[in-house]
Symmetry: C2
Subunit: 292 residues, 2 copies
């Protein structure tokens, strides 16, 4: 899976070529709307070029909402543009937004991500993701509206179970009545996904399980036999896809390996054209992943 977390300060050169000359030095505050527009358009070109290069080796793109939201409403327009580009390339679109809130607000997030919002002027469609990530800290009633929304849309919801960052251990590893907290979250995810399985036996309620701690995947697979595992942390965060076998055990589609900087930034290590480097990196990751 191709992770897109565009940094406007590190875009591919092709994304900047169509722009007016980037300015150097101090930029007056009055230029902010123009900077936002130009940066948003450049982010779109960057992401579409990455999809063109690496997409054929991937099944999905994962859009890191934070990286778009820092460009305000222009960033949200870029999200929609990139979503359309991914869809035209035949890729699933995963909204990596990690939302979580009290039930009434979780319903609004479900409308925003996979549903639509009734208004006196007609229905306003949401982002239209195929899948999205969710934060389970607020408990079952906070996940229910998101799972309901996903069910209605034929989409998937990946709840954070054990994240890929070092700080994940601060709370997720705490002993919570005889098992670490992340195992308790895993049990919740499995329970909530039980009524939502498809023909292949996989549930629309999946789990984010960091690839950086592969030794835990066997136990997590036991606890969540029906869940698709979204496995971030490969590449820039140091995880190796070869160690992820347990994630794929029930079904070849039961694991989704997410790599962002190691594909889009591959030219920094490999040299050469960013698109060719990304293409090569994505194909190598695909080959390794299928052979696990």
């Amino acid at each position: 899976m191709l992770g897109l977390d565009p940094d406007p300060a590190a875009l591919w050169p092709v994304a900047l070529e169509a722009s007016p000359s980037p300015r150097r030095g101090d930029v007056p505050a009055a230029g902010a709307p123009e900077a936002m527009e130009l940066a948003g358009a450049a982010v779109e070109r960057h992401c579409l070029a990455a999809i063109e290069a690496a997409g054929p080796a991937c099944v999905a793109v994962k859009l890191q909402f934070a990286c778009f939201e820092r460009l305000g409403d222009r960033g949200w327009r870029a999200l929609a543009t990139v979503r359309e580009g991914a869809r035209q390339a035949g890729l699933l679109v995963i909204a990596d937004a990690k939302r979580g809130d009290v039930p009434v607000t979780a319903s609004a997030y479900a409308q925003a991500l996979v549903g639509a919002t009734p208004t006196p002027f007609g229905e306003v469609p949401g982002f239209g993701a195929d899948c999205f990530t969710a934060n389970p800290l607020l408990g079952r009633d906070s996940l229910e509206p998101l799972i309901e929304g996903a069910t209605a849309a034929g989409a998937g919801c990946f709840a954070l179970v054990n994240t890929s960052n070092p700080g994940a251990s601060d709370l997720q590893d705490l002993d919570a009545g005889g098992a670490p907290l992340y195992e308790r979250i895993a049990a919740l995810v499995d329970d909530m996904g039980a009524g939502h399985t498809g023909d292949c036996g996989l549930s629309l309620v999946g789990a984010v399980t960091g690839a950086t701690r592969p030794e835990r995947l066997g136990r997590l697979r036991e606890l969540m036999p029906r869940a698709i595992f979204l496995l971030p942390g490969v590449g820039a965060q140091g995880a190796s896809p070869e160690a992820l076998g347990a994630a794929f055990r029930p079904h070849p589609a039961a694991g989704l390996v997410a790599a962002s900087r190691s594909i889009v930034g591959a030219h920094r290590e490999r040299g050469g054209d960013p698109a060719l480097a990304a293409q090569a990196a994505a194909q190598e990751l695909r080959t390794v992943t299928w052979n696990v």
Copy 2:
């Protein structure tokens, strides 16, 4: 504090008056961009009217990002409009977005909420919140970039400690090595806020502590003597402000009571003009809160 979580299907009549006649019945899909524009503009008018009515009795507005995001990029434009209106009314602006992610992404959220993003075309300013809410499930390294961003901007970060929804107990109440998880989160919040206190002894790292479980506030205040408590759940979620005394103990400004539907929707119970009902409800809440 005035919570704004606008539902486009339940706006004040004054917000719809300036619009073209709302359509009835089925709306063709081609009308979606128009519906988005009209709904966004109506949401702006609704929120600005609520600020005008209830603002004088409040110190801050809390913007529920989910409710705006369901209108896509138009919703993000409405967020900016409402932020400006609140600022002109002399109110602090709290971005209730509950973000939380791995460190590199948390930095992007900090840019989006309180910072700015360098681009080749000049700096793009973020939302410019005075405070924002954050989800701590990913641990210390996920909060650090948010707190750094808040520090640089002179803003505040409220981490979720114990939320106001019934499902909060599913994970937050689990026994985590001799204390419930929410107390472990409280200790993390206190520790991370220690180096960030101002003249009044309060830290820029605050805590979201649901008003729906007031019996816990004394212990939470012991664990977080420096934190400002953001207290949602008053009104529609059933909590009573009279029970919140422990939150205010160290300093009259150490507690912020958040009410959304019970102010903006006060006319549903009280009858009459929504603005007058909201004004009365906000003033009553202010009086009760100051006397706690």
